[in-house]
Symmetry: C2
Subunit: 264 residues, 2 copies
Amino acid sequence: MRIGVFQFSPKWGDIGYNLAAISDTIFYYKGVELWVLPELCTTGYVFESKKDLEPLAEVFPSGKTSEAMEEVTRTSGTTVIMGVLEKLGENYFNSAAVFSKGFFMGIYRKIHLFNEEKHLFTPGFESPPVFRVKDVKIGVMICFDWIFPEVARTLALSGAMIIAHPANLVLPYCQDAMITRSIENRVFTVTANRVGTEQIGSKPPVTFTGKSQIVSPTGERLGVLSENEENVLIVDIDPSEALDKNITKLNNLFEDRNPDVYKL
Amino acid sequence: MRIGVFQFSPKWGDIGYNLAAISDTIFYYKGVELWVLPELCTTGYVFESKKDLEPLAEVFPSGKTSEAMEEVTRTSGTTVIMGVLEKLGENYFNSAAVFSKGFFMGIYRKIHLFNEEKHLFTPGFESPPVFRVKDVKIGVMICFDWIFPEVARTLALSGAMIIAHPANLVLPYCQDAMITRSIENRVFTVTANRVGTEQIGSKPPVTFTGKSQIVSPTGERLGVLSENEENVLIVDIDPSEALDKNITKLNNLFEDRNPDVYKL
């Protein structure tokens, strides 16, 4: 399976512009079967208040993002997992939408909101989901979810072979920690981070840390981008490697668990 | 609190020799309040069969290790967490005994046995424990437990500020992963690994990877030893730093957990 990550700096508040950049990239790099894009990649990340979300938030699967991505994935035959700004009822969510070959497959609403996101978004209230593309099960989590080992664990125990991880990282820890997430769950992890700095209204500037990466189930970094450049990372993987949970002949990381003695 | 790690190469099968080396070290480095020693540090690690365990296994708190360590900790006023070969009923356990200021405080029996340990030992059947030394809560896990995030999580949620981690590591992953364990739980982790190679009977040689380390709750390596030398690592820490679970003003890593949506 050919995986692509598009690390870029979305144009703040301009969904049309960002969708065009995403579409151009997907059409240019033919043959990618799964694209993972950054968190909130259609809108930008920094908002002064909920008021600023309203003109940019979309109901899924309707609105211009759904329309564009259904068309792009239908025409190119690919699957895309991308961070979006979702409106559901009266609430806003920091979500990741999944589109595959012309269809909206579903959405994940970020469970663990980072810092001032708590002033803007409602936390996700459902377990992180696993989607199936052919025989490959793909789990989704967003950015700060990484620091809670329960999220990647939940996805892996639910069968995820690949964890798609849209992100807008600002702390320095995550990329190395995702190697641990891959090793402890024996899954591929695909972190699509953004780059650039946003300075919006009276808010202090926020700089994102790039270094998008793809990590194998044995913790090998199969590819990594720079900390500040827009770029594409493409790696061919064999997702079935994630089905082997044996780290030694006698140690299966899932069968060896003993939930009776964990206090979680 | 002054923490000491004694990274060494135990003499296989010679409990008396190893206890003397441990005692000498503890008496030489005065003022250390908590010592963490490697896994199975009184006996060595490689055994051909259960038959070889019998002459070396001890019932706790009796036997020469308990006697010696009660005396050493009483005289020096320190606390020691050390890997031992335990016999309990008809079963052998890969355990970590805790001695403090003249007293046996308790024992942890390794839950997740690595590779051929499964042919020798019975897996621990109790939750990993947290001991209290003055106001400092210290959790214990052993070696391969590191790869199961549930273990460090259980200890941290049980109040551990420091995780003492006796180890006989042979895989290359653990030391970096322990940084993730510290960050995700905001605790100090103290990994006491051994060095050297053991070649016992018909078994293939096993080389241990050293690099014992102490990591802060923010993931900083406060000290690390080499991969092959016997040495002592001493670091002064403020254990109360582990009480602050806030990674941002708005993010408390424990309060932000949402066990309702985890499937563990």
